[in-house]
Symmetry: D2
Subunit: 457 residues, 4 copies
Amino acid sequence: MAARKTINASVNPKGSLETLSQREVQQLRETGSGSVYALFRQCALAILNTGSHSDNAKTILEAYPDFEIRILQQDRGIRLELFNAPADAFVDGEMIASTREMLFSALRDIVYTQSELENKRVDFGSSQGITDYVFHLLRNAHTLRAGAEPKIVVCWGGHSISTEEYKYTKKVGHELGLRGLDICTGCGPGVMKGPMKGATISHAKQRNVHGRYLGLTEPGIIAAEAPNPIVNELVILPDIEKRLEAFVRVGHGIIIFPGGAGTAEELLYFLGILMHPDNQNIPFPLIMTGPSSAAAYLEQLHAFIGTTLGEAAQQRYSIIINNPDQVAREMAEGIKAVKQFRREHNDAFHFNWLLKIDESFQHPFEPTHANMASLKLTRNQPVHELAANLRRAFSGIVAGNVKDKGIRLIEQHGPYEITGDRDIMQQLDTLLQAFVDQHRMKLPGNSAYVPCYQLTK
Amino acid sequence: MAARKTINASVNPKGSLETLSQREVQQLRETGSGSVYALFRQCALAILNTGSHSDNAKTILEAYPDFEIRILQQDRGIRLELFNAPADAFVDGEMIASTREMLFSALRDIVYTQSELENKRVDFGSSQGITDYVFHLLRNAHTLRAGAEPKIVVCWGGHSISTEEYKYTKKVGHELGLRGLDICTGCGPGVMKGPMKGATISHAKQRNVHGRYLGLTEPGIIAAEAPNPIVNELVILPDIEKRLEAFVRVGHGIIIFPGGAGTAEELLYFLGILMHPDNQNIPFPLIMTGPSSAAAYLEQLHAFIGTTLGEAAQQRYSIIINNPDQVAREMAEGIKAVKQFRREHNDAFHFNWLLKIDESFQHPFEPTHANMASLKLTRNQPVHELAANLRRAFSGIVAGNVKDKGIRLIEQHGPYEITGDRDIMQQLDTLLQAFVDQHRMKLPGNSAYVPCYQLTK
Amino acid sequence: MAARKTINASVNPKGSLETLSQREVQQLRETGSGSVYALFRQCALAILNTGSHSDNAKTILEAYPDFEIRILQQDRGIRLELFNAPADAFVDGEMIASTREMLFSALRDIVYTQSELENKRVDFGSSQGITDYVFHLLRNAHTLRAGAEPKIVVCWGGHSISTEEYKYTKKVGHELGLRGLDICTGCGPGVMKGPMKGATISHAKQRNVHGRYLGLTEPGIIAAEAPNPIVNELVILPDIEKRLEAFVRVGHGIIIFPGGAGTAEELLYFLGILMHPDNQNIPFPLIMTGPSSAAAYLEQLHAFIGTTLGEAAQQRYSIIINNPDQVAREMAEGIKAVKQFRREHNDAFHFNWLLKIDESFQHPFEPTHANMASLKLTRNQPVHELAANLRRAFSGIVAGNVKDKGIRLIEQHGPYEITGDRDIMQQLDTLLQAFVDQHRMKLPGNSAYVPCYQLTK
Amino acid sequence: MAARKTINASVNPKGSLETLSQREVQQLRETGSGSVYALFRQCALAILNTGSHSDNAKTILEAYPDFEIRILQQDRGIRLELFNAPADAFVDGEMIASTREMLFSALRDIVYTQSELENKRVDFGSSQGITDYVFHLLRNAHTLRAGAEPKIVVCWGGHSISTEEYKYTKKVGHELGLRGLDICTGCGPGVMKGPMKGATISHAKQRNVHGRYLGLTEPGIIAAEAPNPIVNELVILPDIEKRLEAFVRVGHGIIIFPGGAGTAEELLYFLGILMHPDNQNIPFPLIMTGPSSAAAYLEQLHAFIGTTLGEAAQQRYSIIINNPDQVAREMAEGIKAVKQFRREHNDAFHFNWLLKIDESFQHPFEPTHANMASLKLTRNQPVHELAANLRRAFSGIVAGNVKDKGIRLIEQHGPYEITGDRDIMQQLDTLLQAFVDQHRMKLPGNSAYVPCYQLTK
C-alpha cells in the first residue's frame, strides 16, 4: 500500500481533561505509556481516521505503522504529542475540533478508566456496584445532564447493511429529529450512522443546534471501526456488558433495525431485562423496523422470540414495516409515557435507576469453548435467564466471527459446540442460517461464511 | 397527478415580523391580498414544499390548486392562515421551524418590499439610491451583522449538473466549512445546494453551530424552485440585478462552478464590476473550479473571457481543476487579504461599500427583442461596458430559455437577434454551442434544445 | 470651579447604529452638526457624566465649556469624535461600555428622530399616527421584545426625596426583583434610581442576568440630569407626552412613590387614561406606596383624586403604606391578570395596543400664560377630560419651576393664573401647599420656594 | 427575642449535586445525619439567613432553635427537607435561587468532603497530596475554569471596619471591576463584602454579566457569619490552612485592606510563601492599601514586616494610600505579568501549580497553650520559617479572641505565653497594642479588650 501523508503535532485537551491535577496527569502518563498503550494507540488511530470515508480500520493500522502518541506532563496539565499521524485529521496544520474532542474522550475513557481500576475504587462484587461504575463513567464523560427532557433514542442494527436498509435508517432518523429526539448508537457505520445523518438534517430544519449524537462503544469495537464523524459525544465503555448497560440506562426508547448476530445479542439482552419480573411495569418503548425488503427478516426474528421467550416477550415491542413516520410518532408517544412514569416515580430523566439489571447481564462473558458448551439453553429456567444465556450464545458467535481472540480460539479448537432444548436449537439454527443467507454474518465481499459454531439439537 | 395530503393551519411569525405596528400589519394585509397576492402565494407554496426532495415547483403548483394563504390582523400583530397547505411542511400538526421562518421571510421580502415601494421611499434615480435600497433590504432581513469576521463565500453555478459535478461541489463546501467559511448561494438545488451540504458536515466536525447558509433569490426564481432545506437565511430580492448586487456586496469571495447561461451571466456581471477602473485595487478572490471532467468547460469559459474582455480580466480569477483543498486554501487566503483591506480602508466587513457598481449593472434589463437586438457587443467601448452588455445578452437567453415571459416572447416573435463584432459573435457562438452540447442549457431529460437566439456575425 | 480632567477620544457604535447605510450616516452627520447639535451635545455631556455621583448637570455643563462632539462618516459607518470629554467616562483610555451604549442611544434617538421628522414620515394628525410613532421609536431602540413575558413595572415619583423615602424605594425594587420583575423609570436619581438599585441586588440573588433597567426620558430632562448608571436601556422620547405614552404602552403595572408636581402630573395622566370609557375593562395594576412617613402625603393625594375625579378613579389604584413585600406581591398578581387579558384578547405582550389614549393626552401642551389661564378645570366635562386638564396644569407648574423656558416666562409675566371650580381650586391649593411644605417642589437646599402660579377660586 | 417567621420546604439541587449516584446519595445521607449533622445544620442556617442584613449568626442560631434539615434519598437523586427554616430565604414560598445554590454548595463541601475523608482517598502525608486535595475540592466546586483569563483578585482585611474604610473597599472594588477583574474574598461582611459590592456596579457598567464573586470560607467561619448575598460561588474548605492555600492557588493578585489579627495572619502566611527561595522569581502582585485614615496602620504593619522579615519581604508588596484608581491599575498590570509568566512556564491559569507551599504552611495549627508557648519566634531560622511561626502566633490569637475552642482554653489556662527574640517580641507587642487601640481586635461595641496572650521578651 502507498505511503500516506502524515503530520507531527502537539495538542491540548478540548472538552475533556482540561483541568487535571498534577498527580492525575502523572498517573495518566504512567498508565498510558504502559500496559494500555497499545490499546490507546489503536483507538487514537481509528479516531484520527474519522474524516476518511473509505477505509476500514485494519487497513489503516497497517497504513500508519510509524504512528506514535505520547502523553506529556506540563504544569498546565496534559498534552498529547503525535508522530506520523494521518494528515487527514488536520486542516492547514490544525487538528479538526471533533477529532481533538474524541481523542481526549478516548484518553479519558481508556486510560482514566484503567487508573480508576488500579486504584480499586470499583465494587464489582454487587449489581449496584457495577451500575454505579457505569454511572460514574457516563457522568465523567458529561453524558448525564440534569434536567434535560427524556429524548434519547437508541438505534441498534448492523454496521454492514444494504443500501436500501441504510437509506431507511436515514429516513427514520430524519423523522425522529423532526420531533426533537436525539440519537444514540454504537458510533460506527451502517445503522450506527444512518439515523444520525437523517437527524442532522432534520435538527437543522427545526433550528435545533443542541442535537446530541451519542456514540457508545468499547475498545474492541472502536479499534476496529473509526467512529462516524457525526458523533458529537463519544464514550468508550470498558467492555460489552458495561456498554449494553449504558445503552439501556441513558436511552429512553430503543429502535432495532436489521442486523446480524450482534443485533440479535442486543435484542436478547434488552428483552431479558424487560422480562425480569421487577421491570414488568416500567415503560420502555421498543420498536423493530425496516424497509419492505426487511419484512421477512423481522418476521424471523419475531418468530424466534415467540418460540424461545414466548408471547409475553413479544408484547414488549412493536414491529413496523416501511413507515418511518409511524416509527417516530410511536417512539415520541412512548417516550412521553417514560417521562410521565419517571416523574411519578421520582426517577432521574438522565439515568434509568429503576430498571432492574440482573448480575447475570452485567458480568463479562468469556467466549471460551467450555463456556459456550455449558450454556444452559433450556426451558426449565425463568424466561429472563434463558434470554441471558441466548444473549451469551450470540455474543460468542460475534466473537468467533470478528474478534481477534475469538477467531484464534476457533482456529485452535474448531467451532463452538452449543447445546440445548431441541426446539430452541432448531429456531436458533434457522435464524443463524437466515443471517448467513442474507450476508448479515460478516462484511459482504468476503469469501463464503464458514460458521464458527455447531448446534447440537 | 394523485391528490396530495393537505392541512389547514394558522401560524405566528418566527424570526421576522414579530413586532409590527398595527398600521404595518394593515398595510401588509392590504398589499398581500391585492396585487402581489399571486406572487406571495406561489413563493409560499414553494417554501412549504422545501421538505420534499423530488418535485419541481411547477408540478407542485399544480398539485395544490386549492392552496390559499391569508394575512390576518390581530392586536398582537400578524398571523398567517393557511388552507390546503402541503402536509409535508408539518410534523404532527406543527409547521417545521425553518419552513415557518422562510414563510415569514417571504412575507417580509415580498409584501414589505412592495409596500416600501408604494410609499416611494426608494431613490431609483441614482446608483447610491439603488445600493442603499439593497442595503436596506439586507439589513431588514438581519443579514448584515456588525462585527462578524469576513467569511461569506458565494458559490455560483448550475442548478442542474452532473452527479460528478454535484459531488465535487459538496467536497469544496466541505473544505470551506473546515476552514470556518460560510456559504451563500441562490438557494436552489445543484451548485446552490452542494456546497451547503458539504459545509454542514464540516461545520459540525469543527463544532461550529453558527454556520450560515445564506440563500439570495428573487421572485421569478423562488417561484420555480423550492429553496433547499439547508438554507438558514433566506432573502428574496426584488429582481435579478438587486440580487446580483446583494451577492457581491455581502460576499467576501466567489467560487464559480460549472453551469449554463445563468452562470455565464453571473461571471460577466462580476468581471464587469471588477474591470471598472475604480475597482482596480480592491481585492476580491474569484476562483473557477470543477472536477476533471469539467476541465474542458472551464477552459472554454476562460478562452471566451480572454477573447472578449482580455487578459486583464483573466488576471482577476484563478482556475483550479479537481482540487477542493486548494480551492478552499486559496479562498481562505484571499479572504484574509479582503479583511486586511477593509480594515485599512475603514470599510464595513458586512457590506462592500467601496466596490463601485456602475448604474448600467443596476437597472433591470428587459429582454425584449428590440433590447436584445440593440445590445452593443463591440470592442469600441470600455471593457466593463462590454461586459455589462454581454451580461445582458446571457440574461436574455436565460429568460428565453426558462422564464415565462421570455418563453412567450420567443413563441410570438421567434429567436432573439443578437449582433456584434465578428470575433465576439464567434466566441459567443462557440460557448453557447458548448453549453448546448453539454446539456447545460436546460434541465436534462427534456427534448432537444432549440436555441432562443440567433447570432449575426 | 477647578478645571476638570478631560480626554479626547474616538468611539465606534455599540448596541445601536452599528449598521447604517452611507446615506443614513450622511443624514445623521448633517442633522447632528446643524440644528440639533446643541441638544445632542448637552445630552452627550450628561451621559458622559453618568459615572460621577455628585454633580448636577448644570454644573457639569459649565465645567466642560470646551467639550465638543463630532459625527464622522467613514466607509464602515459612523464614528463619534470627542474633544475635552470628562475623563471619568473612561477607564485607562477606553470608554466605559454602558456610557458608549448610552451615547449611541442618544445619537439614535435625538438625531435619528429629527431626521425622521424632516423626512415627514410621521402622521401627527391622528391618534393612531402618534401611537405608531411612539411604537417605531421604541422598536428602533430594541425595547419591544417579541415573546418576552409581561414583567415591566414602571416606577414614578420624585427625583429629590428624603433618605427614608429613597431607602423605601430600594426595598420595593428589591422585592419586585425577587419576583422576576423588571424596572422602568425616568432614568434619573431618587425614585428613578432606588427601585433599580434594589432590583439589581435581588436579580443577582435570583441569578437573573437578564434584568432590564429601562430608562425613558426626553431631551429636556436628560439634559438636566445624568442618567443613573444602572439603566441598561436608554430611550429618549421627543417630548413629555410621547414619553408618558411610552411608559403606559410598555409598562405592565405602575407604582407611584412620593414626589412633587411632576409625579402628580404622571398620576393624573394615567388616571385620565384609565377613566376613559373604552379602558374600563382593561386591567392595569396601579399602586401608590411609601414609607410610614409618607402616609399623610399619600392620603392628601388620595383625597385630591376623590374630590376631583371621584370614587371611580380611586377604585383604579390601591394604597399600601410601608409594606414593600405586599406591594410586590400585589403587583405580581396584577401583572398575571394583565398577561391573561392580553392572551385572551390577542394583544401583544410588548405593547399595550388596546389601551385607548385620547388625542388630548398625546399633543404637547405649551405652558404659556394664555394656555394656563384658559385651562378648563371645571366639573361640567367628562372625568377623563378634567384629568387631562389637571395634568396640563401640573405640567405647566413643573415647567414654571424647573424648565428653562417656563422660568423665563414666569420672570417676564409673573405667575400663571389658574382658574376653575371653587372646590377643585381649593383642593389644588391644599395639595400644592403640602408639596411646598414638604419641600417637594424643588431640590431641597435652595432658597424658599416662590410659587410660579396663582389660583383663582 | 421575638419568634421569627418560619417555613417548611423541600428543595432539589441547583448548581451542585444534580447528578449523584444512588450510593453517593446514601453516603451523603448517612454522613449528613451523623457526625457532621450539627455542622451542616449550622452552616445551612447561616446561608438561609443570607438575605437578612442586620443580624449576626449567633443571634440567628438562637432565633431558630427548631430548625432542622434532612437529606432525602429518592431515585432521582437527592433532596433536602427543611423544617422551621427562616421565612426570609423564600419568596412567595420558593427559595431564593442563590440561597438554594449555596445550600447545596454547603452540602457538597461539608458532607461530601467528609465522605471523601472517610474513604481515605486523601494523602495528607505529602505536600503534593494536600495540594491535590485542595485542587480536587475546588474542581469539584467548579471553581477551576480551563481557559479563563487570569483575573481573580483576592481581597483580605477585617470583617468589622470603619465606615470610611468600608467605603474605600467599595471604591477599590469598583475600579477593579471597571478593568474586568473578579473578586475573591472570605465571603462575610466588611472587607469581604465591600469590594464585591463595588465591582457589582462596575461590572454592570461594563455590561459584564459573567462577573465572579468567589467566597472561600471554612466551617468555623461560615457558621459564625452569614455569607454576603453578592457571593455567586461559595466554597467551604475544611480548615484554615486549606482555605489559605485555596486563596493563593486560585488568586492572581492579592490586596490587603485594614484588618486585625486575622489579616496579619493572612499577610504573614502569604509573605512566608513568597519568601521561600523556590518562589523568588514567581510574579504575584500584592498591594496593601487603605484610605488616608488608615495610613498609620499600614505604616505599622510595614515596619513590623521590615523588622521581622526584612527588606526583601517588603519588596514583595507596594503600599498605596487613598488611591483606588492606582490600586486597580497596578493590580491589572501585575496580573498581566502573571499571565505572561504562566504562559511562558506552561502553568495553568486556573491553579498556581508552580508556587511552592512548604508543608509547615499546610498542616493545621492547633492553638493549645503548649503549641503557642513552643513557637520558635527567633532569627536563627530561614525567613520563611519565621513567617510561618509568626503566622501561627496570629492564628492562635484569633482563636483565643473569637473561636469557641480558643476562648474556652483561655478561660481554663489564662493567656497564651508567647516567647521569642527580644526585638521581635517588641514589634509584636507594638503591633498588637495598635490593633487594640484601633478596635481591630474584636467587634466594636463590646466591652474593653482583654488580651488572650502575654508576650515574654
